[in-house]
Amino acid sequence: MEGGLVLLGGGSSGVSTNESAVLSKVEVVSEAESELELGLGLSLGGGGGGATGKTKAANSSWGECGRILTAKDFPSVVSQRSNNGGPFSGTKRAAESVSHESGSPSGASQVVGWPPIRSYRMNSLVNQAKAQRGDEGDSGVVEKDKPKDALKKKLNSNGKQTTVNEKGHLGFVKVNIDGIPIGRKVDLNAHSSYESLAQALEDMFLRSANSLEKEPLALSKLLDGSSEFVLTYEDKEGDWMLVGDVPWRMFVSSVRRLRIMRTSEANGLAPRFNESNERQKSKPI
């Protein structure tokens, strides 16, 4: 039963080229990380690869998404924000998170699925770290020096995939689309912009199993309001908002989960800020 197969040519060149592919993947990761560190800049044409090691070559053939609003369009987002709720408290975090990431990342923290700790446990660690950091500024907390502040603990529900903390390590959020009961998960850390996120979501939900072309079904253009579907998210406060209104960083630190909702049902959500600024010349994806 031990009969092996003779390698039928073609494979021998595999190892050396692939080794360099593996090496270059590592480089791409650190490149992407430095892009993220530059802050709120927009990167068109899909994410730089993030921790999943997508190569740029693969992404560029898939076209670009339409332009959406980012912080660049607004001189000072915070003061002009017309929504009430969550994002205000998020701003401080966003600023903090930029400074947190200015140090060079260690090897272990950049790799997907490493160290091999189950997401359930990771979430618990994140919650504990968040609570600890959140309480550091509070007066009236009894035991400041201990890693766990007992009294004023905001108990996040465990078992849910909470999103990125200040270090940006956990990025998986649930995504549901109206009409399909089973949700998916998307890794926000693999994206540095709304476009690449929208791209990924469209690929996830809109490509049928048999189509090999990038045929845009009626559900494209999730972000510009011109499609049958619209992308929304639930923030930390439990409010549902349209995706795209706030700077990417702020979005990532406050999003809890995503929902692709029929446009007809999206009334009453936080309105798009300054719709006249939108230049909707997106080509079909």
């Binding site: 039963m1 197969l5 997508k54 160290p115 189950r118 199993a209």
Partner: protein, 586 residues
């Protein structure tokens, strides 16, 4: 005239004999003896275990074992736990439930691991199996509290509901209240993974109160400490208990209430939970510690001094899960207090920190290996290791069955000699002859795989990451490890040669996972073509593999043996070679 044995026993006698044979492996062996044994055995197999839900179809299982009462199914590959398997890959239980609903109406037990379970599935279970007793969902997802409500409402004979590490959608709806007032048969309830909106405390108290046979209760984090006393008082017979949050205001009345309730539970053997621990509340459990055999403190951020005090009260401890706050000093205390220790798991409190935040090194592991002669199973996260320490551990613990070491930084060398850790792990496989499961880490060359192939003859599961130099490494493992069933590899320079040269081996294994390695798409196609009883799945979210050159590496590869052929529920990012028209040549 010498009659053959097989004809001298009536079937009923053989059936009775077989009823003492519970293990799956043994049952499979029994069924290979002869045709009549095969027939008798298949009619009386009551528990079916399917290690890979895609290796066989539900109809085939039902056809062969028409009278089973319990089924265990596993879905996604193990690396799904670490987000390496994209969401939507598969592992849906619904088709199984549909088939069993019709053909196995007396089904009593369903145990699932890493599967997608929908509310529809749960509702169908609730409706279809009148004598349903046990539902254990481990690392499953896809359902909400609505599905749980259906189970609660309809399963009158339910004994066990265990949701371990599941992801449950919380739709508020007090699902616990759906257990009717007449329902009293609960023996085990584990809801530790649920969020905050999902449990009504008063319903829980009433349920616990009327289920006098309740032995296991694991609460979720949202249950406050001051409410636990009420629950414990209603269930003094509990053997296994998981607290909710272990934080409360430091008030003497709350403390004494809680401590009193705890000490009334004279049967407690296992404790878990302990989220958000307030150390001053820990002494409340001291009275029950002497009987404890299992303690899960892996969510408890208590420091070494408190941990030392705690474990020193637990002389009968067999199983400890803890964070690395325990430090080397705590592990030394453990080694001197807990001589019955069989299983130890030490998790990192700050896995992404660049600098160590605690003083936990290889010394702690060495101490435990030296002081605990019964130690069999270890999962240890640390930041440094040496060959010397590993050799010492191996010599101290020749009875290891599971050894999983995770040095947090990939490719970390021996900190003393700066050499690879080949010799250390080599000692582990050489001395621990019964080793069944091994996870490697640190700087490793092909040599460690040579050791593994040579010595690890009982090894069934191997996990490899960031290791090896060439295909030779993979070849050593595939050609040497006779008992290998599951192999999972990530980020190693293993490519086509070893895989193709050992293709036949793959049919003797349950599955092989390789991600971020150097296996080309061409090799995958060849393998699939030559080995029709393997499903070769290329998982690649970059797009169709044939849009790139054939020598290009695939992103992720999952190969498993199957008698059910290709599966029908693949998402767009999974390719099997049936789709490839070029395979239809010649």
């Amino acid at each position: 005239m010498h009659k053959k044995m097989a004809f001298s026993f009536p079937d009923e006698v053989l059936e009775h004999v077989f009823s003492f044979i519970q293990s799956d492996k043994d049952r499979n062996s029994v069924s290979l003896v002869c045709k009549s044994w095969y027939e008798i055995e298949r009619w009386c197999r009551r528990k079916v275990f399917v290690g890979n839900c895609y290796a066989v179809s539900p109809r085939m299982v039902i056809k062969r074992f028409p009278e089973f009462r319990s089924i265990e199914l596993k879905g996604k590959p193990h690396f799904a736990d670490f987000n390496l398997v994209p969401d939507g890959w598969g592992g849906y239980v619904f088709p199984w439930i549909v088939e069993m609903a019709g053909a196995v109406p007396w089904l009593e037990e369903i145990k699932l691991k890493r599967m997608v379970v929908t509310d529809e599935s749960l509702e169908l279970i609730a409706k279809s199996f009148k004598n349903f007793k046990v539902l254990i969902l481990s690392s499953c997802e896809g359902f909400s509290t609505d599905g749980l409500a259906a189970i609660a409402a309809s399963c009158k004979n339910l004994k066990e509901l265990d949701l371990r590490d599941c992801e449950v959608d919380d739709l508020s709806g007090h699902w616990l209240s759906h257990f009717p007032d007449t329902y009293t048969s609960l023996v085990a309830l584990n809801i530790s993974c649920l969020g905050s909106d999902e449990v009504s405390l008063s319903a829980l108290e009433r349920l616990v109160g009327r289920c006098t046979s309740l032995k296991t209760l694991r609460l979720n984090r949202a249950v406050p400490l001051d409410k636990v006393a009420n629950i414990l008082r209603r269930a003094p017979q509990l053997v296994e208990f998981g607290t909710g949050t272990y934080a409360a205001e430091l008030r003497p009345d709350v403390y004494s209430d809680f401590a009193g309730a705890f000490s009334s539970c004279k049967e407690l053997k296992s404790l878990s939970g302990f989220w958000d621990v307030v150390p001053d509340y820990l002494p409340a459990i001291y009275p029950v510690c002497s009987k404890l055999t299992s303690l899960n403190l892996s969510y408890a951020t208590i420091q070494s001094p408190e941990l030392i005090k705690l474990v020193s009260h637990c002389p009968n401890l067999q199983r400890l899960l803890v964070l690395d706050y325990i430090e080397d000093s705590g592990l030394e205390a453990l080694a001197s207090s807990c001589k019955d220790l069989q299983e130890l798991r030490v998790f990192p409190s700050d896995p992404f920190g660049v600098e160590p935040n605690v003083s936990l090194t290889e010394q702690g592991l060495v101490a435990v290996s030296s002081g605990c002669p019964k130690l069999q199973s270890v999962l240890y996260f640390c930041r440094r290791m040496s060959n010397e320490a590993l050799v010492t551990v191996a010599k101290n613990c020749p009875n290891f069955t599971r050894f999983r070491l995770c040095i947090i930084e990939p490719r970390t060398a021996d900190y003393l000699t700066l050499e690879p850790l080949d010799v250390g792990f080599g000692a582990i496989v050489q001395y621990c002859k019964d080793l069944q499961r091994l996870s490697l880490s640190g700087l490793l060359t092909d040599r460690v795989f040579e050791y593994i192939g040579t010595y690890a003859k009982k090894l069934e599961m191997l996990s490899v990451a960031f290791a090896g130099d060439s295909d030779l490494g993979l070849h050593h493992v595939l050609s040497g490890c006779e008992s290998l069933r599951k192999l999972e590899i990530r980020d190693c320079p293993f490519g086509d040669k070893a895989l193709l040269a050992n293709a036949a081996k793959l049919e003797t294994m349950r599955s092989l996972w390789m991600s971020s390695c150097a296996v080309s798409f061409g090799a995958c196609k060849l393998l699939a073509q030559k080995m029709p009883r393997l499903n070769v799945e290329v998982i690649d979210e970059r797009g169709p593999p044939d849009s790139r050159p054939e020598s290009c590496s695939v992103d992720k590869l999952y190969i498993y043996r199957t008698v059910a052929g290709s599966r029908f529920d693949m998402p767009p990012f999974v390719w099997t070679m049936e789709d490839d028209p070029s395979l239809q040549l010649s």
